[in-house]
């Protein structure tokens, strides 16, 4: 298992928003799960594990509302999304300064993955949650570890790092990989 890396790749086809639905939300922390439901309701009813899809989308919106827009209600989160029976594709953009700790996260995840591979659970203790000087007491720092597993056809940021594009395909069980491998 190679450690998943988060990439910056503005030209990635996942940023092509052609034919996608669009919604824009003010950054109200209390409404994150409601906003998520407004997006997920467009997914086909027969989609597998829809609750997991809901949970993973809510994490992306939470990151945009809280870490991107600092819960400032005058700043918006823009969401583009499309669903097919076996595919979910979203672009989530905020008005923040961008994910500046991306490189640190990749390094952290490398260590985390090493501990998991070696089943070294004492060392893993240091790597269960990623925190930065910008984190607060209510940050859990574990959402992105799950995200890179779930979004198995890519998780990429734009150059400014304030937009993330993700894709999940359901017909194969390949683990999420480094996009350069494709």
């Amino acid at each position: 298992m190679a450690a998943a890396q988060i990439l910056i790749d503005e030209k990635n086809t996942l940023f092509d928003k052609t034919g996608m639905f669009y919604k824009k939300f003010p950054s109200d922390f209390r409404q994150i799960r409601y906003y998520t439901l407004l997006i997920v309701e467009k997914a086909p009813a027969e989609m597998k594990q829809i609750y997991l899809l809901e949970q993973q989308i809510s994490e992306l919106i939470k990151n945009a509302v809280k870490h991107g827009n600092k819960s400032n209600p005058e700043k918006f989160v823009e969401c583009w999304f499309r669903f097919e029976d076996d595919m979910a594709h979203l672009v989530i953009q905020d008005e923040g300064k961008g994910f500046k700790h991306l490189e640190k996260w990749n390094e952290f995840n490398l260590e985390r993955t090493r501990c998991l591979q070696e089943r070294d659970f004492d060392a893993l203790e240091q790597y269960v949650s990623f925190t930065s000087p910008d984190s607060d007491m209510t940050d859990n720092g574990n959402a992105l570890f799950a995200a890179v597993q779930f979004w198995n056809s890519g998780l990429v940021f734009n150059k400014k790092r304030n937009a993330v594009a993700v894709m999940k395909k359901y017909h194969h069980n390949k683990p999420w990989r480094h996009l350069e491998d494709d």
């Binding site: 799960r33 609750y51 949970q55 859990n140």
Partner: protein, 115 residues
């Protein structure tokens, strides 16, 4: 999310019902912090009635697991099922947590430690 406490000799069972999400998961952290102050040493978190968990819920479990481990207190998590299991699987932490099938299995597992 509702939390109820029950007791089996020195073992405290924390029954959680509802969504362990970004709005409510902190309640578990607060409760266990209080229980630690009372020197309670044996815990079972029962997730039988939890059908939704997010990174805040996983974060609360991580916090509790880590706090109790540091104090050499015992924690088992029971009835991890459905979407909760899927989410913990995504974080690859299934083997990191001490997970047991159900509450009675957890009690059996803890009993030998109780002096």
């Amino acid at each position: 999310m509702e939390i109820k406490l029950r007791r089996n000799s020195q073992i405290f069972i924390i029954d959680i019902e509802g969504d362990m999400d970004l709005y409510q998961a902190y309640k578990l952290k607060e409760l266990v912090a209080k229980m630690i102050q009372k020197n309670i040493a044996y815990y079972v978190i029962n997730l039988e009635k939890v059908d939704y968990i997010d990174s805040s819920g996983v974060g609360a479990l991580l916090y509790v697991h880590s706090a109790l481990k540091k104090l050499k207190m015992k924690l088992l998590i029971a009835n991890v099922h459905g979407s909760v299991k899927d989410v913990i699987n995504l974080t690859q932490l299934m083997d990191y947590f001490n997970i047991t099938k159900d509450v009675s299995a957890a009690i059996q597992e803890l009993k030998p430690y109780i002096t």
